[in-house]
C-alpha cells in the first residue's frame, strides 16, 4: 500500500496525549509513529522496559496506552512479551481468545543494548511473533545521561564526563541492529524520525505484519541528554542520516537492503556540532579526534555498503 500521509495521520491515536514525556522527546514520536502502523481493527499488547517511557506513560492510576500494556522490569521486556505472545497462541488454540492481537515492546538503549540484551536475544532467537522497538537515545537518560553501549564515541555523559584527562566515552557504539540481524530473524530495520515519518511508519508496518520476530532500532534523540535546541530534532535526525552516522537499512530474511544513500555525504562534524555533548571535539587541540571520528563513520558505512551489495 502506498504511503498516504493524510490517511496515516488520521488513524486513531493509540498513545494518548497527557503522558509526561519531555516536550520534543524523540521516544514519544517513535512510539506514536510505530503504533500508527497497526491496523485499526487489530488489537495489541504493548510491552515496555523500565525507562523514561514507562515512568512517564503509566503513573498509577493514569495510563497513556489505549491498548493493553505491561511493564515488568528493566531487563526483561523481551522475555515478558514472549510469555504474552505464547499465552495468546495457547488461548487462541483453546478458543478463549478470538480477536487478532499484535505484540510490540518498547525499550530504551539501556533496557535493550545493555541490561536487557540477554532477554532480547532469547526472545529473538526463539522467533516469537513480536516486534521489539528500541528507542535509541544513546545513554541512560531516565537516570540522568549515563553512558550505555549505544552511546557514541566521545560523547560527554555523566559517567564519561569530559575533563582535563578525558574526552568523553572512549569506545565506539555497539552495532545492535547488526547483532540482532545475525540472530537470523525475519525482519530487522534501522530508522529514525524523518520528514513525514514514512521510513519509520513503513518499517513498523513491515515489522508488525511480518510473521516471527522483528527488531526496529530507532534513533530517537533526547534534547536534554544530547544538549541541542529542542525544536531542532528533525534537523538532527536528517543530519544523522546525511552524514551516514545513522544509516537507514533493512535486513529482510537475511538480505541486507540499504534504504537511503545521501547524494552528498556530509562530514560528521555537521551532526556533532549541533550537540552540546560533543562540544569539546571542536576545540582546536581536538581536531585529530574529529578526523578519527570521520574514519570510524566511513569504516562502518563501507561495511554496510558491502553487506547490502552482496
Amino acid at each position: 500500500m502506498a504511503f498516504n500521509f493524510k490517511e496515516v495521520m488520521n488513524k486513531p491515536e493509540r498513545f494518548a496525549p497527557g503522558h509526561r514525556m519531555c516536550a520534543g522527546c524523540g521516544a514519544a514520536i517513535t512510539v506514536r509513529t510505530v503504533l500508527r502502523a497497526l491496523k485499526p481493527e487489530d488489537k495489541a499488547v504493548i510491552g515496555n522496559a523500565t525507562g523514561c517511557l514507562e515512568v512517564s506513560s503509566f503513573m498509577y492510576p493514569y495510563t497513556a496506552w489505549e491498548d493493553s500494556y505491561m511493564h515488568n522490569a528493566f531487563e526483561n521486556a523481551g522475555a515478558t512479551l514472549s510469555g504474552i505472545e505464547t499465552a495468546y497462541y495457547a488461548l487462541k488454540k483453546k478458543g478463549k481468545v478470538t480477536d487478532n492481537y499484535k505484540f510490540i515492546t518498547f525499550g530504551g538503549d539501556g533496557g535493550t543494548y545493555d541490561i536487557g540484551f540477554q532477554s532480547l536475544s532469547g526472545a529473538m532467537e526463539r522467533n516469537h511473533d513480536l516486534v521489539y522497538v528500541c528507542y535509541d537515545n544513546g545513554a541512560y537518560m531516565n537516570t540522568g545521561t549515563q553512558r550505555s553501549s549505544a552511546t557514541p564515541m566521545y560523547a560527554d555523559t555523566t559517567t564519561t564526563p569530559v575533563g582535563t584527562e578525558s574526552n568523553g566515552k572512549m569506545q565506539n557504539r555497539k552495532d545492535l541492529a547488526s547483532i540482532i540481524a545475525n540472530h537470523d530473524i525475519p525482519y530487522v530495520a534501522q530508522s529514525t524520525l524523518l520528514g513525514t515519518m514514512k521510513d519509520l511508519y513503513e518499517k513498523a508496518e513491515k515489522a508488525i505484519y511480518t510473521p516471527g520476530a522483528a527488531f526496529l532500532n530507532v534513533m530517537s534523540p533526547c534534547p536534554r541528554g544530547w544538549r541541542y535546541d529542542t525544536p531542532d530534532i528533525m534537523k538532527i535526525c536528517k543530519l544523522a542520516v546525511d552524514t551516514c552516522y545513522w544509516p537507514l537499512f533493512e535486513v529482510v530474511e537475511g538480505k541486507w537492503i540499504l534504504n537511503y544513500e545521501p547524494k552528498k555525504k556530509l562530514p560528521i562534524e555537521d551532526f556533532l556540532r549541533q550537540q552540546g555533548r560533543f562540544k569539546h571535539l571542536f576545540k582546536p587541540e581536538n581536531e585529530h579526534l574529529l578526523v578519527q571520528y570521520q574514519e570510524e563513520v566511513d569504516r562502518r558505512w563501507e561495511d554496510l555498503l558491502f553487506k547490502c551489495s552482496r
Binding site: F58, W65, S68, M70, G78, L91, D99, G122
Partner: protein, 392 residues
C-alpha cells in the same frame, strides 16, 4: 479408585502438570528441578499434554515470561531450584505485587557459595519475604498433593498470589517412593479452569499492569498483598478440606505427630520430618514423650496456630535448614520464637541448623536433639544456634 504408582518427587510434580495441563510453562534447567521441564517437554512431544513450553535462556526470563503469560490470561507455571530462584529474585516481588497467581515448583537446593547441588532451604527461605505463598512437602505424595492444591489457593479471588510448591532436592525429587495418584478427570475437576477477571487479552477491557506507583500508592499496594496473604490462611484450609474429599488425605498448616501429650518437641520442615518421626516412635517405645510438628505452610506463617499446638511442650527444638546469618538464629527459629513469645508460651526453645548443603540428618541426629531437650528440661543451659553434625 486412586492409582498406586512408584515415582520420584519430580515425576510426581510432572505428572500433576500433565493432569492439570496448564496453558504455558517457561523454564530453564537447573539441578535438581531440571527433570520437571524435561518430562513436561516429553509429554508435549508425545501429545500427552498441550501446554505451550517456552525454553527460555535463563531463570530471570522464565519468571518474566511466566508473568507475561499469566498477565495475558493464561494459567502459567515454571520450576526451579537454588541459583535459578536467586536469579529470579527481582521479579518474584513484581509477580506478587502484580497479583499473578503463578505456580512454581521449587526443588530446594543450597545457594552457591560454594557451589553445592544438594538440599537445603536457603533458596526459598531467601525468597520468603517476596510475597509468595510457600508450602513444603515431606515426601513425594505431599509434593504431588500440594502441587494440585496450589492452583486453587493461588487463583482464589481473595488471594491471587503467586505460589511456591517446595520439595527437598534429591531427597524427595529423585527418590522413588510409592505414591497414590488421583485420576486425571478428578484432578481436572478439582483444579478447574483459570478464568481471571482482568487480563491483557481481554478484548472488551484492555488492561495496563506494572505501573510506576510512588509514595501515594505504594503502601496501599503492600497492604493489599498483606490482606491477600492473610486471606490465604482461610483458603488453604478450605482447599485442603475439599482435597481430602477426593484423596482421603488431610492437610493443614502443619502436621502434629504424637503431639497429644508431647513434652519434647522438634519443629521441622520438609523431608527431615520423616526421619524425625522414626526417632519419635523409638523414643515413645522407651516411654519418652517426644513429639513433632512439621510445618507445611511457611507463608503465610501460622504463628498463632503453632503457638497453640506447642503451648504444653516443655522444650522445643526449632530446626532450620537455612542460615540467615543474622547471628541470632535461622528464619524458622526467629519467626516461631516470636510467635511463641506473643502467645505467652514459656517452654524452653533452642534453634538449631541442620542439613545445610545436603549434610545428612539421621534418626540418630534427631534422637540426639531430643536428648538435648530432655537435658534442657532438667536444667541444662540451651546451646543456641548449634550447627548439627559440623566437623570441628
Amino acid at each position: 479408585m486412586s492409582i498406586r504408582e512408584r515415582m520420584s518427587g519430580n515425576e510426581a510434580v510432572a505428572h500433576a502438570i500433565k493432569q492439570i495441563n496448564p496453558d504455558v510453562m517457561a523454564a530453564f534447567p537447573i539441578t535438581p528441578s531440571t527433570e520437571i521441564p524435561q518430562m513436561v517437554s516429553t509429554f508435549i512431544a508425545n501429545g500427552e499434554c498441550t501446554t505451550e513450553f517456552i525454553p527460555v535462556e535463563s531463570e530471570h526470563s522464565s519468571m518474566s515470561a511466566t508473568m507475561g503469560a499469566c498477565a495475558a490470561g493464561a494459567r502459567a507455571i515454571t520450576a526451579t531450584s537454588s541459583c535459578g530462584l536467586a536469579y529470579m529474585w527481582e521479579v518474584l516481588y513484581v509477580a506478587a505485587s502484580d497479583r499473578l497467581p503463578i505456580v512454581m515448583a521449587v526443588v530446594n537446593r543450597a545457594l552457591t557459595g560454594p557451589i553445592n547441588i544438594n538440599c537445603d532451604h536457603s533458596d526459598s527461605m531467601g525468597a520468603r519475604d517476596a510475597g509468595w505463598i510457600q508450602i513444603y512437602a515431606e515426601n513425594n505424595q505431599e509434593a504431588y498433593d500440594n502441587y494440585i492444591q496450589s492452583f486453587r489457593i493461588a487463583e482464589h479471588p481473595d488471594v491471587r498470589l503467586p505460589f511456591m510448591a517446595c520439595q527437598d532436592g534429591f531427597i524427595t525429587s529423585h527418590a522413588i517412593e510409592n505414591i497414590e495418584l488421583i485420576e486425571t478427570d478428578k484432578v481436572k475437576a478439582f483444579v478447574g479452569d483459570y478464568e481471571p477477571e482482568n487480563y491483557l487479552l481481554n478484548k472488551d477491557m484492555p488492561m495496563a499492569i506494572g505501573p510506576y506507583a510512588n509514595s501515594p500508592f505504594y503502601m496501599e499496594t503492600k497492604w493489599n498483598q498483606r490482606m491477600a496473604m492473610k486471606n490465604a490462611k482461610k483458603v488453604i484450609l478450605e482447599v485442603a478440606k475439599e482435597f481430602e474429599k477426593i484423596s482421603g488425605r488431610s492437610y493443614g498448616f502443619f502436621e502434629e505427630y504424637r503431639m497429644d501429650d508431647a513434652e519434647y518437641v522438634i519443629v521441622i520442615m520438609g523431608s527431615a520430618a520423616g526421619t524425625t518421626k522414626d526417632a519419635v516412635d523409638a523414643l515413645r517405645n522407651q516411654g519418652i514423650k517426644a513429639g513433632l510438628v512439621k510445618i507445611r505452610v511457611f507463608r503465610p506463617f501460622p504463628g498463632e496456630e503453632l503457638a497453640e499446638a506447642l503451648k504444653n511442650s516443655k522444650a522445643i527444638a526449632i530446626m532450620d535448614r537455612a542460615e540467615s546469618f543474622s547471628a541470632y538464629g535461622g528464619p524458622v527459629g526467629s519467626e516461631l520464637k516470636s510467635a511463641l513469645f506473643d502467645a505467652g508460651v514459656t517452654a524452653k526453645t533452642v534453634n538449631y541448623f541442620y542439613g545445610l548443603g545436603g549434610r545428612d540428618y539421621t534418626v540418630e541426629t534427631a534422637t540426639d536433639v531430643y536428648q538435648d531437650l530432655i537435658d534442657i528440661t532438667n536444667g541444662a543451659t540451651p546451646v543456641q544456634f548449634k550447627y548439627i553434625g559440623i566437623r570441628k
